[in-house]
């Protein structure tokens, strides 16, 4: 065991290299806390309980889509007797979560959610023409859905 020293040094170096991602995040100050969202300043209550929205907002949006387009029902009776107009841009964005970039995109970017292509068509009211990004570049050439 005359190489004990060398082995120990080698092991430490190996551990150091393997844990580079952890050092990287430590240096950047990243924690497991998750993104900070800018909440609505005008509306205190969401269209549905927050716990439901956290898990299933995409289900609600799909329901809204079918209600508005296929059934022509454009008002939604939410919790506690409030009604909202069924509109992604008009209600979700303009009325409540005014900043898509600081609300929707924060979590989506953090979790690497590629899915929502709602914005290919629905217009973010904050950005006028800047919202026009070519579909091809985003989806890497597969532009047929």
């Amino acid at each position: 065991m005359r190489d004990r020293g060398w082995i120990a040094v080698g092991l430490l170096m190996f551990l150091g290299v393997v844990m580079v991602p952890a050092w990287y995040n430590l240096a950047a100050g990243r924690t497991a806390k998750g993104p900070s969202l800018k909440l609505s300043t005008t509306e205190k209550e969401c269209v549905a309980p927050i716990s439901y929205m956290k898990t299933s907002h995409m289900k609600l949006l799909a329901e809204w889509r079918d209600l508005a387009v296929r059934s022509n029902q454009r008002t939604y009776s939410a919790q506690r007797g409030r009604t909202f107009a069924i509109s992604l841009t008009g209600t979700c964005l303009r009325q409540c979560h005014t900043d898509k970039a600081e609300f929707c995109d924060r979590c989506h970017a953090y979790s690497g959610v590629q899915g929502p292509y709602c914005w290919d068509c629905h217009v973010d009211p904050k950005t006028a023409f800047a919202a026009a990004r070519p579909i091809d570049a985003r989806s890497g050439g597969q532009d047929w859905r």
């Binding site: 889509r65 022509n72 454009r74 939604y76 009776s77 841009t89 217009v123 070519p134």
Partner: protein
């Protein structure tokens, strides 16, 4: 969650449009209806005619009314363009062939479009005898001159057409083209209601429809 009840009492049964050709296009080059439609719906302006998108446009009489040709027609029918759009047929061939029911006929008579469901197969374009439908061959966003967030754009790969401004009707407004017409040449209403503006217009003169012999039962009438 929430619920809703579909109650059709008091709802229109057959929405239709009447173009009073005696009043339409009296003013040379008028395109207020086309501009209003374009602005309300983020319709792109694409110079390549193979890629153009149009919901309402002008067509010569010969092209629009193929079955009503006459060698000795008067100037109105020879020279004047007619404003044409989706006819929202009572028996729409496009609805018949759509594999996903991305287009369907609503109970109020409007042939509606669901761009979430359209897969871009273009069967509807092949089926429509009037050329009312346009396909998005390219991403339309860069070509939208006045982007409004009041209405979505469409994406590349879907077919689009006039929807009689369903989003405006639900707010009690009339379609954008009808509201924009300064000559009062466009009238919109329920054909089943004898007191509606469309029935009044149809009583006021003789009206023709595009390719009526095909049996699609178009609901856009032209009082000539």
């Amino acid at each position: 969650m929430a619920g809703f009840v579909i109650d059709r009492a008091g709802e229109p049964d057959c929405q239709a449009l009447v173009v009073d050709a005696r009043k339409c296009l009296r003013k040379e080059g008028c395109d207020l209806c086309i501009k209003a439609c374009r602005r309300s719906h983020n319709i792109p302006e694409i110079s390549d005619p193979g890629h153009e998108i149009k919901w309402i446009w002008k067509e010569s009489f010969q092209a629009a009314f193929v079955s009503e040709q006459s060698e000795h027609a008067n100037a109105m029918f020879r020279d004047q363009p007619f404003v044409v759009l989706c006819n929202h047929c009572e028996r729409p061939p496009c609805v018949r062939v759509c594999p996903t029911k991305a287009t369907w006929r609503r109970e109020d008579g409007i042939v509606m479009m669901d761009w979430h469901r359209c897969i871009g197969c273009r069967y509807c374009i092949a089926a429509c005898p009037y050329g009312s439908r346009s396909f998005n061959w390219i991403d339309p966003r860069p070509h939208v001159k006045h982007l409004t967030s009041e209405f979505p754009t469409r994406s590349k790969g879907v077919v689009e057409k006039c929807t009689f401004c369903a989003e405006r009707l639900v707010q009690g407004k009339s379609p954008a083209c009808v509201a924009a017409c300064e000559a009062n040449a466009l009238l919109f209403g329920d054909l089943e209601d004898p007191s509606s503006p469309v029935r009044e217009a149809l009583r006021s003169g003789y009206a023709i429809r595009r390719k009526a012999e095909l049996g699609t039962m178009p609901e856009v009438y032209y009082v000539v």
